[in-house]
Amino acid sequence: MKAFAALFSRELRLANRAGGGGAMGVVFFLILVTIVPFAIGPDLNLLARIGPAILWIAALLSTLLGLDRLFLSDHEDGSLDLLEMADTPLEVVVLVKCLAHWAVTGLPLVLAAPLFGLMLALEGDALWGVTASLLAGTPALTFIGAIGAALTVSLRRGGLLMAILVLPFTVPVLIFGVSAAAAASGGTVPFLTPFLILCALSLASMALAPFAAAAALRSGG
C-alpha cells in the first residue's frame, strides 16, 4: 500500500514538474472542439445533435496524444528498468501509473467538458450526460491506451503506430460513451443501460490492461 501511494505521488509530482501534461491536453481538446464548427458550419441545431460525439472524439484524440508520456520518460532515463526489477509486481506499477496519468490528463478533460459542451450548444441534461459518460469512459481510454504505449515504448517514433494499435480497441468505449451521452437527453434508450456498460468497460480494462501492458513492457523495453 505504501508502494502504491509512493508511486502515485511520484507520478503526480513528475507530471507537475514536467509541466503542461494536463493543461496541454485540455488546450488540444479546446482546439478540436473549435475546429469542428469550422468544418461543419455553425448551425447550432446540428452541433447540438452531434455535440456529444464531437466531445468524445476530441477526448479520445487528446488522450491518445497524451499517452506518449506514460512510459516514455521513464524508459529514457532508466526508471522503467528499476521499476521492472522492483518487488512490487509490474502490473501494480502499471495500474498506479495509469491511474495517476488519468488523474492528470483524463480528469481535466472531464472537468472541461461542460464548458466546451456549452460552445457546442449542449445544455441541461445533454451536458451532464456527456460529462458523466466521459467520467466513466476516460479511464477505459487511458488503460486501453496503456497497452499500446507499452508496446511502442522502445520505438523512437512510435506515436502513429501506437494510435493505429489503440484506436480499434477504443471503438466500444466510444460507441457506449456517445450512446450514454445521447440517452441522457431523452429518447428510447434509458441512460443507465449504456452508462453501466461503459462503467463495466472501464473496470474491466483497469483489471486486465495492466497484465497486457506489463507483458509488453517486459518483452519490449
Binding site: 497497452i147 508496446l151 511502442t152 522502445s154 520505438l155 512510435g158 503506430l161 493505429i164 494499435l165 484506436l167 480499434p168 480497441f169 471503438v171 497486457a212 507483458a215 509488453a216 518483452s219 519490449g220
Partner: protein
Amino acid sequence: MLKYANPTFFLRLVAAALPWLWGATVLTLCAGLYMTFLVAPADYQQGETVRIMYIHVPAAWLSMFIYTVMTLSALGTLVWRHPLADASQQAAAPLGAGFTFICLVTGSLWGKPMWGTWWVWDARLTSVLVLFLIYLGLIALWNTIEEPLKAARAAAILTLVGVVNIPIIKFSVDWWNTLHQPASVLRMGGPAIHPTMLWPLLVMAVGASLLFLCLHLMGVRNEILRRRLRRMSYLAAEAADHVLEPQPEARA
C-alpha cells in the same frame, strides 16, 4: 512438436509436401468454381448475383480462422517459445488481412445490388472492419520493430488482446439488429441452407483453406530464410569489421 521445432526439418517437410498441397488446392478450387457457376442454382430472389456468396463467405470464414491460427501461434511464442511460432504469426498476418479485404470488398459489391448500399455501419460489417484494422496494426508492428524476437512477442501480446473481437464478429448478427443476414451455417439447429448451395460453399471453403495452408507454409519458409539471411549479413558485417579495423598498436 519438438521435432518440428527444428527449422531445417520443417524446410524439408515443406519442400516435400508443398507440391501436393498446391495440387490439392488447385483441384479443390477448380471443383468449387465449377460447382459455383454450373451446379449451384441461382437464388429465386437475388438471381445470379448470389454466386458472390461462394467467394464472400469462405473469405469471411478464413479471415476469422487465420486470426485463430495467429492466436495459437502467439500462445506458442509467449508460452512455449516455439521458434516456428514467431514465423507462423508473421506469415499469417498479411494473409489474414488479404482475406478480410476480399471479404469486405466482395460483400460491398454484393451489397450494392442487394441492399442498395455499398456500406452500412451495422454490427457485423463494423466488427469485421475492426478486425481488418487489427490485422493492419499487427503488420505495422511487425514492420516497425526490427529485432525479430521482440517483434514476435509484441505482436503476440497484441494478437491476444484482439482475440476478443472474434466471438464479437461471430455473434454480432445474433446480438444486434443488423442488415447483414443472421447465421445460416454454423448455428444451433444445423445449417439453414439448402444442400445444393451448401456443398459448393463447403468445397470453396476447403479450397480457400488449402490455399491459405500453402501460402502460409511458403510464408513461414520465407521467414526462416529471411532470418538466416539477416544472420548471415550480420556475420559478414562482423567479419568485414575485423578486416577493416586498424590494429590497436598502429593507433596511439
